[in-house]
């Protein structure tokens, strides 16, 4: 695997995992909003 390809994979994995974390944060607040 080339260095450029590895960097691209690293960036993509980080963004996906970060997006999952953000989804949990917003999702639980949204659940609170819908229940209250």
């Amino acid at each position: 695997m080339s260095e450029a390809e590895r960097k691209k994979n690293i960036r993509r994995t980080a963004l996906i995992v970060g997006a999952v974390a953000l989804a949990f944060y917003i999702g639980f607040i949204a659940m609170g909003v819908l229940r209250s």
């Binding site: 590895r6 994979n9 690293i10 994995t13 980080a14 995992v17 970060g18 999952v20 974390a21 953000l22 989804a23 949990f24 944060y25 917003i26 999702g27 639980f28 607040i29 609170g32 909003v33 229940r35 209250s36």
Partner: protein
Amino acid sequence: MTTAVLDGHAAADSGEHDHGPAKGWRRWLYATNHKDIGSMYLVFSLLMFFFGGSMALVIRTELFTPGLQFVDPAFFNQMTTMHALIMVFGAVMPAFVGLANWMIPLMIGAPDMALPRMNNWSFWILPVAFTILASTLFMPGGAPASGWTMYPPLVLQTGDAFPFLIFSVHLMGISSIMGAINVIVTIINMRAPDMSLLKMPMFVWTWLITAYLLIAVMPVLAGAVTMLLTDQFFGTSFFLAAGGGDPVMFQHIFWFFGHPEVYIMILPAFGVVSEIIPTFSRKKLFGHDSMVYAASSIAFLSFIVWAHHMFTVGMPLTGQMFFMFATMLIAVPTGVKVFNWVATMWRGAMTFETPMLFSLAFVFLFTIGGFSGLMLAIAPADIQYHDTYFVVAHFHYVLVPGSVFAIMAGAYYWLPKWTGHMYNETLGKAHFWLSTIFVNVTFFPMHFLGLAGMPRRIPDYSTQFTDFNTIASVGAIGFGVSQLIFVWVVIAAWRGEKATDRVWEGAHGLEWTLPSPAPYHSWATPPKARIANEAFE
């Protein structure tokens, strides 16, 4: 094996990154090297261990005899709250992140963590967060005193400290999430060629699973405390019954974070112990793959058991049954792990150096904490045990001779690789025996206190609880003082006997093919595929 050692040295000396560390404070403030950041995490966690530990001693001093002796009840409640927050988020979690930073790249043959600048941020956010949290001790109304669970409406009565508490918890969460992203990205993308996932060392595996847990639950805690903040300052009523909200919902959300958090603090401990026991048994780990599946099962189950923390709030019988049986199910994969550790030792050529002693104590004493956990999982029994010292005994057995002993085991195990010198084995063993004796003197009597009905989080108690409280307080002071031996052992290790590369006769894995101390830049050239598999031969 010879090939592996030679290749390890070659990779270390390849000269691709032949510059050393920066000089002075810049080395630490601008650190991007995984070893420097790992060291900072470990030192920080040790400082927090003593800071939080001193609060535990305030608590135990007050409880030495019945009556109010030294501190007023409000300050006592601040101590219980701050002790928990500091130990969980400031001592145990950063210690495991420190071990991960140091060891994961060495174990998988990566030159560094995948996102080194973010790694720097992950660490440096922590001292800011804990300075803010500690500053609340000097604010009007004092530090938070509602317990680390921050249940509303009680937590909303916190004085000026409230927004600082929320902000510091957010910062801790951001730090943990960034650290978890780094661990996942590093393990997924930077493993040595041919090191497939199932060939990874158990410490790396357990950390990968832990990182996914962190990604899933730290944002949930952040969401919960954000809602607390808006309830207090922006007129919302998420958890305020008067405005149509539901305080019990906070408990559900908190424990959806809180129970996986327990496993965040214990899975890396499983990983550490799974590295150490094979080394000192001179056998390979029994059932490596089953250990991976067991850890994954524990992680999955941790998401569906949260309400066992809140049986007493009232819930449908079906709910109680579900959470009770789901919780008991965790004993199965945990039993697999304990079985595998014992099977690894079976007919092994065992020796009992300090890391092995701490690991053996971990297996035995963590299992005691697991058994009391099973007792607490029984819904009708939990109605009796809830909010008593039995709960305090349970989670301290899991966290102190569990997580903390595993951290100590890991520190002794890898210290020669970090410093290039052997530590003083006699002092290490003294530290182990004193810690083990005093940890039991401290926490075992709490089982009896809880079963006799002594509630937790109180500064005073009925006289029939005196004897066991006095014993526990003596044990706590002894345990605290014993930890000073560890500090001395670490300091003295910099002048100890020179360590060999392999350090321990039975050690296997990539990290042991590098020189001791591990060079500032390691694995600039990825290890050869054959070496990556060496640990399994």
